[in-house]
Assembly symmetry: C2
Homo-oligomer: 223 residues x 2
């Protein structure tokens, strides 16, 4: 499968590296590949270690892809996807991993609320894309190596297209998530729940002093 | 211990009933006990089954109590606590179980945000009370009978007073929560995380079709 992973940060690298290791063709999208490489030595080093992964602009990456992963920062996601181009997202699976938390002191623009979510904003902005919110509720290392966390734990999917959610579930299984660990929350509005979970994740992380944990829904398989 | 449980709904009854069964002296506070009894036959029936529990006004209940449980609806909590009286809350443990979710169509007033929480609002409004947010992240049946959910799962405490959090932890253990299941998230601002978790709880509940589940932090004991 040909994936575009938009975003060159910790999450983008983790997901792109994992997809490449699974044999997928991966292009990493960034606003200006030359500028990113010049600015960020660690990204150049990462690319060197992942020879099959190619950097490109958001639009080039999305255009050539069969599926797109939004791994940009939540506050930059709509701009990045706009740069990628609605025509390059139309009809494609768009996996939204981003979180709308803004850590700046100034007014947060994508503050999670219970009446909207970044996942919904993306689906509204790109109605022809098949948006599936997933993987936004755990650390990047855990996303791509769930066995780092002992015991049972869960990953959520939210989206309007059943086939797209099935494709994401299959991808998650190929990454190492047990099939029964994937909880389908429902349509894309349920991304509100998954995104707001991150506010709890942050406090738990600070309380525990580490990131290698994940949410498990105890009792989920009872009903 | 003498507890005032403010609120006569599902949560208030579950907590009051459990506290009474553990041998505590429990007064259930409501705005107008006579009106509540006249309006709500099921509350009268519940009181009949819990002979040691006495109904009273918010103020009477809080005045005679050593510790107060806020089990009112989140949108009504500040008004209920104001009616209880700052002087009747001062110096006392105030366990805040309420959730600021508003289900009405009109503009939500206590919508959870990542810059405030009901727990903090209560602590600000009643600075002499020792507010501990806890037990707001699971169904009322599970609150008072955690063994209903199989396997390990967690309950959170948030608050500024270490002694008050220790008292709540001891109370939780007496209710049946394993001591290691109690996660201290930190000061009262961490109630934001616990309250926003409820947005995920609601979607998980709808997806599973039942309420007998709870959040477990897999990997918590690793760090």
């Amino acid at each position: 499968m040909r994936y575009a992973v938009l975003g060159t940060g910790v999450v983008g690298r983790a997901v792109a590296g994992k997809l490449a290791s699974l044999g997928h063709e991966v292009v990493v999208g960034t606003r200006d590949p030359r500028a990113t490489l010049d600015r960020d030595d660690s990204f150049a080093g990462w690319l060197h270690e992942h020879e099959t992964v190619r950097p490109a602009t958001f639009a080039e990456a999305a255009e050539g892809a069969e599926a797109v992963v939004n791994a940009t920062g939540g506050a930059a996601s709509l701009a990045a996807l706009t740069a990628a181009g609605a025509e390059n997202l139309a009809g494609k699976l768009l996996i939204d991993i981003a979180n709308p938390l803004v850590f700046a002191e100034d007014l947060p623009r994508f503050e999670p609320v219970d009446t909207d979510s970044l996942g919904e904003q993306i689906q509204r902005a790109f109605p022809e894309a098949k948006v599936v919110k997933s993987l936004n509720t755990m650390n990047a290392d855990v996303m791509v190596d769930p066995a780092l966390v002992p015991g049972e734990h869960n990953v959520f999917v939210s989206g309007d297209d059943a086939g797209a959610k099935q494709a994401v579930t299959d991808l998650l299984v190929s990454i190492g998530w047990p099939r029964e660990s994937v909880i389908d929350l429902g349509d894309i509005t349920t991304a509100r729940g998954a995104e707001m979970l991150v506010a709890a994740w942050l406090r738990v992380s600070l309380a525990l002093g580490h990131h290698t944990f994940n949410f498990h829904i105890a009792g989920a398989r009872r009903g």
